[in-house]
Symmetry: C2
Subunit: 422 residues, 2 copies
């Protein structure tokens, strides 16, 4: 399927990354603007390829939800262009001096931001990801290997063709953005071993892909994007407003990683808040998985969406209109539950008690910790990062939305006057 | 050999890390001062255990150089105490706010430094490492698993006993610092798979250990500590002072990772500088591995330490009084040689030509890039980081000396007023 050997692709990417070290901030933004314009001028070709992907998906009887994720329209292309232009507005992180000092021997030492080098991203479905990642990678001076899903293969190949045209226009190597055409999944095993050529591997996908990369990859991997998210309703919370927040966190877009999965309720307010919540959530309807205490309050009535929680329900990322409910004794039990069950993506407290808020914020060590807000804000655009290539839930390098800055590293630059060490 | 199962050790470390989230800056420094004092008051016990280790090493006919690395003395204990007190002087990175902003919806968002959680360090020989890592880990709020070498087993066990006494005194769990007693190397295979309990694995050792960890570990690994280091002598360099710098970089401590391995010489000055260098280096003597050009200048005379470089000589970290020499056409060839052969630890240019310096600094993407200085400054103490647990040569999270700050991550804290996403 592929014309080039994967090792050659890796070598070319490494070389391209080195050429990108001289890619100036000004040129980067010109490049991005030209890319945005080219997406529009080539829209016919792009949408045609996308129609072929969609047709294939329909033949395979994919769900309408999945087809909707694949689908490109003129409006969605305009959305992609707008995202690129947002990125143009952001400062280039490369070259920024993070720290500067004169050592006692006279050496001027500074830490300066540099690109990571070569990124490899494994992703599925949505074709806007191809353009998002390319734009973020190039603005941060990185070469990128794109290993997209087969469902959008033709769209991706066409998008990369357009990207290559723009790279050529700017006298940049087309190997700065390489698409790994791998509909039979034959190259992933090898890709994850190419630590000589790939500085960071980003698997965007489910648990299986992430586990595979953790087990098999020999280069640094940025895992994340899986959120078992919690809100704890403390006894002092404003219960009327809690209902709005829980509704928003659960219902506004249930299919995403920062949607609410488990609600923890302080026992002192369980009798009041649970019926209020049920009244609100039954509109959608949201199925509520109840622990013993909450079942005693609301009653188990499966036909009304009130079911008993079973083993493992608190370890589910629902991605659907389902909500786990558990009544806890106090903020300490809430924290312990989160320690046991969270994926450390987005977890929050709803409370008016400063002491409990402080304890929660300090003890819950998730990528994003919320106080009196919906969990739905863990998102590069929401946090002003100009999009994201992933949402990291591991501890190293970057946590939460991975934007421009997280795609850079730093180096030490030490300038002396023929200085030697005593 | 071990009383506890490794999984139990991991679980306990995770729990201890969570307790350390509430370890205040003040308490940390009091802890460190008490630790320094305890090392001194328990010196008899520590030095006795060390004598037993040294005796065993002598029985096994270890080299004097290795025995010197194992050896503790009262003076060396005082050095360890001084290192701890330097660390006390440094600010605690935990809790520092890196960024703070108000989103358009009113949410206050900030990124705040937090400990990584649980570190696991695999290391050999020098017993001061046990104390260094413990001090750095605890000041940055991390629990740590220490898997030291068998050569210093008894010393390490005694040091950890002293550390535990101090932990108990401060009402901290002794599981915050656990020694993995593994003289038969039976636990490393399992340790590297414990991604549930270990946030960062730091292998301090040679190529084989690092490769093993890259291949097998399922958690983030910080590789480094292997330096094939270069200096490029440009045509415009002050040649008299170049000799001092090269001598220092090669000779001052040849056994360490930031010592010089390969000297690249601009062809226009090869005839002048090479004889000057030879005159200086023959005092030690340094063996010079010559490429064809430099062989033509100096002549191959093995009895005088002038030998022909062979395949692979430019891919050697010498750790000895040996220096590879290669004459290059210009700064571009020097950069290309470094791209091919460096481990991206410490590489430098000696030059008076601004254009070449800029090109070199921008293109050579090593952890530390030097201008007119010896490579010997890539070191946590030299850079004012209060020691180091490793010298990273990978791109993610931290590069160069890994000090306090590099042992932290950050989390996002988002405070709203029952804020929901539109």
């Amino acid at each position: 399927m592929m014309e080039k050997d994967l090792t050659e692709i890796g070598k070319d990417a490494r070389l391209a990354a080195r050429q990108l070290l001289l890619f100036s901030n000004e040129k980067k933004d010109q490049f991005l603007e030209t890319l945005a314009l080219s997406l529009w001028s080539e829209r016919e070709k792009i949408l045609e390829a996308n129609s072929a992907d969609v047709l294939k998906a329909r033949e395979k009887m994919f769900s309408e939800a999945l087809i909707d994720r694949l689908l490109l329209t003129e409006k969605r292309l305009q959305g992609m262009m707008a995202d690129i232009r947002q990125l143009i507005e952001l400062p280039d992180p490369v070259g920024k001096v993070l720290e500067e000092k004169t050592l006692s021997n006279g050496i001027r030492a500074k830490r300066q931001r540099v690109p990571l080098g070569v990124l490899a991203v494994i992703y599925e479905a949505r074709p806007n990801v191809t353009v998002d990642i390319t734009a973020l990678a190039l603005k941060s001076g990185n070469a990128v290997l794109l290993r997209g899903g087969k469902e959008t293969r033709l769209t991706n190949l066409t998008l990369v063709e357009v990207i290559h045209q723009v790279l050529v226009k700017f006298e940049l190597p087309t190997t700065a953005v390489q698409f790994i055409d791998d509909p039979d999944r034959r190259y992933v095993n090898k890709l994850v071993k190419m630590d000589n050529y790939v500085d960071l591997l980003i698997p965007r996908g489910g648990n299986r892909l992430q586990e595979f990369c953790k087990q098999e990859a020999t280069m640094p991997v940025m895992t994340g994007g899986i959120g078992i998210c919690h809100l704890f309703v403390d006894a002092s919370a404003d219960l009327v407003r809690v209902v709005d927040v829980v509704e928003n966190a659960k219902v506004q877009r249930p299919s995403v990683c920062n949607a609410l999965d488990t609600l923890l309720v302080h026992q002192n307010v369980a009798n009041t808040i649970l019926p209020m919540l049920y009244e609100r959530l039954k509109r959608y309807p949201v199925e509520m998985k109840l622990d013993e205490y909450s079942a005693a309050v609301l009653g188990i009535q499966p036909e009304l969406g009130l079911v008993a929680a079973v083993e493992g329900d608190y370890d589910q990322e629902w991605l659907a209109l389902i909500l786990g409910i558990k009544v806890v004794e106090d903020v300490d039990e809430a924290i312990h539950h989160i320690w046991q069950h969270s994926t450390f993506h987005s977890d929050g407290i709803l409370s008016e008690t400063k002491e409990n808020i402080n304890k929660f914020v300090r003890s819950v060590d998730s990528a994003a910790v919320y106080v009196n807000a919906s969990t739905r804000f863990t998102d590069g655009a929401q946090l002003g990062l100009g999009g994201e290539v992933a949402v990291s839930t591991q501890k190293l390098h970057a946590r939460g939305p991975v934007g421009l800055e997280a795609l850079t590293s730093y180096k030490w630059i030490l300038e002396g006057d023929y200085t030697v060490r005593e």
